[in-house]
Amino acid sequence: MAAPFYVSPEQWYTEKAEYARKGIARGKPIVALDYAQGIVMMAENRSAGLKKIAEIYDRIGFAAVGKFDEYENLRKSGVRYADLRGFSFSREDVAAANLANEYSTVLGGIFTREMKPFEVEILVCEVNNASENTYFRILFDGFISDQRNFASIGGDSDQLSEALGKGWRAGLSLGEAIQVGRDALGQANGGSTTLDRDSLEIAVLDSGRTGRKFVRLSKDEVGELLGG
């Protein structure tokens, strides 16, 4: 019998992480930030059919970068998880923190046990009337962090949070917040492309609405907010 081929855990994990990072780096980053009435989520996306930003539940939005089939699977499971929780308890009992924990557990498990890690980064946002909005960022290995005011996934996260931090202040109007987000996404792109109504996918979690707060902005609305 041949001796089993030995790879040290350290080397194995390092190589898996490198593999995942490479996959994620192929995608464009996504940003989300507070505005006066809630949260705005923005992605560069020219596809009309395939979405990167989606609704999970009343107050919870989802965004992902990386491999489409993998994050689409995670998104659908998230919707099932949230709807099941809301069905068996109450709508108010569905919270982003539980969902983000679940994503972290699943991604961490896959990273540890499977040959191939998921090549995704996930952002779970929750809009709140009473307290501050929360942003959970979950990485391919299950690493989870929560942030306030703004967050990003994909791309160079230091550069993105610097750009967002520079432009963001409390009480931005929706139009202003979208400008800040567009500048951050543009810088991440090396400033080479101009992002316009046809290349931006934007959705908001509008705390002024009753019930489901997630609304997708149409191309016309995006165009108008960007100033024509």
Partner: protein, 260 residues
Amino acid sequence: MFLDEKYRGSSFAEYLRVDHPDLLPDFRHVDFTKAVLMHGTTVLSLVYRDGALMAGDRLATMGHQVGTRDVEKVFKIDETGCMAIAGVAGPAVEMARMFQLELEHFQKLEGHDLTFEGKANRLSFLVRQNLPAAMQGLAVMPIYAGFDAEKGRGRIYKFDITGGRFGEADYHATGSGGNEANSSLKKSFRQNDFSREDAIAAAIEALIDAADEDRATGGFDMKRKIYPTCKLMTKDGVEDVSDDDILAARERVLAKHEEA
């Protein structure tokens, strides 16, 4: 857990059945036919110029007694449609909740809305799923109505306890006072001439007629200020008709009856 679940489709009811059957009621070997259960009585729907209307009285009975005086039998299901229920109140309310979730779940997973027929079919499926319970005494008789944006008009679907979807109707009433309400609507109904006020008046008249003949249908409880509820579904969405408008319609109906 999470990614390991078996069901991969877009129906919430199917998902529960496959992966979480413990959350669904199991009524096997239980006979409810002799139990005194809370019953919702008369509900109705009609189409008019701007869309569809749905109304119901507020009484729920338990045998010969009042169960609840101010129960809500007309439920907003999504931005375009409502469901009204008559029959045993417990499973009926549960069915409305499940239907609402079924449509929301589909919309979130697929990224777009079901068609009007698609929604009616899902309700038909839920009613059919309830059939064994119905045979044991837990019958639920829903009406589904809404504004079909594609066709640009209000539409109504009626169902029996087997989930049979008996096509579309211009008006329909069900529940213990359903027969009376139906004959009242039959006389007053003029679809395309019906304005918002006419439609509300016709619905209120039908409920007053039903309450007059059927002891289980609650009319206007002026002392407690409990009035029938009424919802309108138009291109602008679902609107709750205010108590003032309901009372105005009642005045109009009473004046008409005075003349006759």
